[in-house]
Symmetry: D2
Subunit: 329 residues, 4 copies
């Protein structure tokens, strides 16, 4: 109860210019009140199921009826629009593919903010431009609600197994309330700072990930052409200063590791198009903060060229194939 | 004795077109016969001392008399030239700054090959162009000697503590004999394949290292400008897919880690000039094998520009400072 | 009269949902009615003077009183705000440093759109994000006015001598009316297409300019280090396929040409910061259209790194110095 | 006669340690003595024909009998090896595909240097590593002959029309003698400095050419995606500071110009593989002189990736297609 009480008190403190305390619908009097969930795609559906597994009633919606049907079969209540979800739930999670979807779901004619109740906690797990997250937070605050960004790392597999990592941005006082729900869906939840910080952390991680992946692909390719055995080279890198996640956990060279996309013709995993999108956010953030990111920028361009060259739907580790194809001329 | 016997037999097998078995001076009948050591710089001196500590008599030389004096005080016998060392020792280690030095020490007028005995094991731990390693191996073989390349990873500290990693290239039959000596000076010894493979592995590792370091510097800088706390960002990267040696072991941002060059104004460590040199080898290798290495190539150029901009003598993690200097305009 | 008539007719056609023809204040019944001018910086002041020279009464404003005073001395009438200028003139030119200034001058509390008259022609010669140009055009259309973007190429010298090039975007029917004014201030006026196209053309040109300049600097530096005489090398490039504007008109190597910034310690010209800004627009445009621009992107990063390294206020050809400084290590 | 005399005197001065003046076979007493020509490929054959057209007897050889037959039909005398050509001619031109061919033709068992006469002028028009040119010059000088490098710019068409540009490196005193022959085959002959300078100039030009071409392709692609008409954009660039040879003479966008490879599905022209090769020389030269060439280096990598991606045999302007393929995702 202490956490809840603190949540309410802080909410009051933060919002007292706008609302009367008597209007605050103090959410979560019982911790298992319904949770809204909007966006039932490949990631959203298993996330919502994990909430159901933890005993939370889920009230959900999505533009695709089949996705709704599927979650309904798992026990969720389905409503027609984000606005209706907002009318029934004072904690809502959104998981959407892109910034325009987020804007529509929050600020559209049937959007959350049309019917959001004062004090509602809105958690957006989409990966979007941090500037859009900040905009949503401002709009939510005007309605007396709280918006936090909480993008994830980890893919569909991690979503099913509740092993996602959440990077959370927003007012610190609400973090405990967010964490309560996010721990049902992920293994790690990290508080990153003010609103937008979750997106910033995600963008930074994925930029370094892309650099490490392309670097690993180049290095493995070079080593192989110099006559080194790929498994041996990976072993050497992984015990030396060249070690990185892409070399030791997700090696892009077929035959070096099992259970990764490179072992399966680069099917599944994290698509090249999605990586190009995230690198676009990193590039925008770098341009607006005037930060030189030469390798990040080149990584972005390489993934753009891969999209142009037919790699859109392959895992981002297929950069090994892109650089290697047809071998020595 | 089995290993030694195998060594001799293999040597015979490999060289029977050139030498009579009866001429083979079968080295190491007792394993603590003298070891030659040529090149007593910052790395060579502690390496030679570790051989002395393991009970090997060391016969050494260097162009700088003070360096010789220093090792003499530690118990080594000093001779005047590589040729004289080759006359006395049938196992010789060389640790030199660059390809021309290696060529001079092996093929020069007072070089090893002037007096090398048949069957001598020559181990070069310098980081040089793999093509030069191959040249030396051919020249050594003509004299009935065996050349292996065994460049190290790890710096002066690792050399003192015998914690270097050796990457070894050369005929597999001689690897055990090399390993016997190298384990006195390093914690890890890895056989990489035919001669030049040690250099190839080292070049590959350092290319990926440079990419990871610049990537980490860019990412940390971007995150900081987006408002993230540097320590927190490092923590997030290190538990996510952005993780790499440069982020978790050698972070380039002052204040994030202790005991690394970034905590000491980028003094010590691995200099920018040396990194630029190694990236030049990687570039040459990529060009001659027609391997695309876009990030490796850009990393090379960035370290070249840093050398031009006054960073020559700083640790290579100072790329963080290079990208950041003067901050937002 | 034909052109004017066509202008009015087209305006009617375009706007008949919003306005009554009777309300149209048909501008330019006499071609020398007053022209508004907002933004009296290094570029704006000589541009406004050229309008005065051609006999146009000028009604101007700027946030800096001294700039206003200076133009007043040249014969312009000075008003207090963009809104007041809009109240008096039905043709207005704006020349401002950045997107936020444009937004303020058009949509701010004392902005043009507060008092703009129906049928007014608004020409913005600022270099800004094409998206902002489109936004202004939509806002202007709502008020019954016409917005065109007309960024310039050529610097302060070209502005004084009326030798600028204008790249014009907007409805084709209004192009003649815009051209009448722009030819007083520039030597070339090019119609590029719908609104935002002028900015797009400018961004494209400057991206290719930056690539050509850095490429020329690299090439000249390489040639010099290979022993070629810089003047001879420039001559060879300029009669061969390496030829570009940066090699034949604005060579970055001191001593090769006279009358360019490289002959004057990179003073004057087009500053590195401004180039970095334009490359930021190019980058944003490339990201939002998902266009791979690897060299453009790297050029952007190099100018960012130069800003970080103390080159902010030097001409963009100082990239030669940035790459060369301290010479061979 | 003055030029010839000067040539002989200088030759004497240069070589007096090695030869007696009386042994000098003073070539070219009559200017139409036979000229040797080695390497009858796509470039060599039309070049040799142009010598024949100017009345020079040509003594030629090539490894492909058909090529020899073809030139024989045009009036040349065919011999069996470079050594035999050297035995008969005191002016020899070589035009070969790569460094190893040049080494073979000059220093091989049937190479020129086996039978070269003292005072012979050797002109190599191959594009090769400048270091190899220097090596050949040293070897030639040992035999009392003079080696000059004279690589060309311009393709097969220019070779047929005698419109090549020759960039010549070597001792200045021999330049006139070389020029006499080269002007029969080219429109421009430029003296660049000591031996290797011709290659250096060529490498520099081609590096800047590659940068300009990729930059033009990126810029045109970006402009098109921003809604600009390609012909209009090319026109704007060509009258502005973005202008370069690739935009105004060899535009990579189909439909913008006629008579260029982009108008013919990138057939003919200068192949991607050849550009990658030349950029490899530029890269080697930059690495060995420690010159930062970030864009040149990235251009190299892009052409490498294109070779890997199936563009090997297309003209190098096909980079437009490489970057564009499949359009916006």
């Amino acid at each position: 109860m202490a956490a809840l009480f603190r949540g309410c008190r802080n909410f009051y403190k933060r919002s007292n210019k706008h609302v009367e305390l008597s209007f605050v619908s103090c959410r979560s009097m019982a911790s298992k009140t319904p949770v809204g969930f909007i966006g039932l795609g490949n990631m959203g559906t298993p996330m919502a199921r994990n909430l159901l597994k933890h005993g939370y009633p889920v009230i959900a919606t999505d533009v695709f009826p089949e996705s709704c049907k599927e979650l309904q079969d798992s026990g969720a209540q389905i409503l027609d629009s984000p606005a209706e979800v907002a009318d029934k739930a004072d904690r809502i999670i959104t998981m959407l593919p892109s910034s325009p979807n987020v804007i529509e779901v929050y600020k559209g004619p049937n959007g959350i903010l049309k019917k959001v109740k004062k004090g509602t906690l809105l958690i957006d797990s989409s990966t979007i431009d941090p500037e859009v997250s900040k905009e949503m937070a401002v709009a939510a605050e005007k309605m007396g609600a709280v918006f936090m960004d909480a993008p994830v790392s980890g893919g569909v597999g991690a979503a099913s197994l509740a092993k996602l990592t959440f990077m959370v941005g927003g007012v610190e006082e609400e973090y405990n309330a967010a964490q309560e729900l996010l721990t049902c869906m992920g293994a790690k939840v990290v508080y990153c700072g003010q609103v937008g910080s979750g997106q910033a952390a995600k963008i930074c991680n994925n930029m370094l990930l892309a650099i490490g992946m392309i670097g690993t692909a180049e290095t493995m390719n070079l080593g192989i052409r110099l006559g080194l055995d790929p498994k041996l080279l990976a072993k050497i890198l992984n015990m030396s200063s060249g070690r990185c996640w892409s070399s030791d956990t997700y090696n892009p060279v077929p035959g070096v590791m099992e259970g990764v996309p490179s072992a399966n013709n680069y099917q599944g995993g994290f698509g090249t198009t999605l990586m190009a999108k995230d690198l676009g956010f990193a590039q925008n953030a770098a341009t607006s903060t005037r930060t030189p990111v030469p390798l990040g920028s080149l990584a972005h361009q390489i993934y753009r060229a891969m999209c142009a060259g037919g790699y859109s739907n392959k895992d981002f580790s297929s950069v090994f194939q892109f650089l290697r194809e047809e071998g020595v001329q």
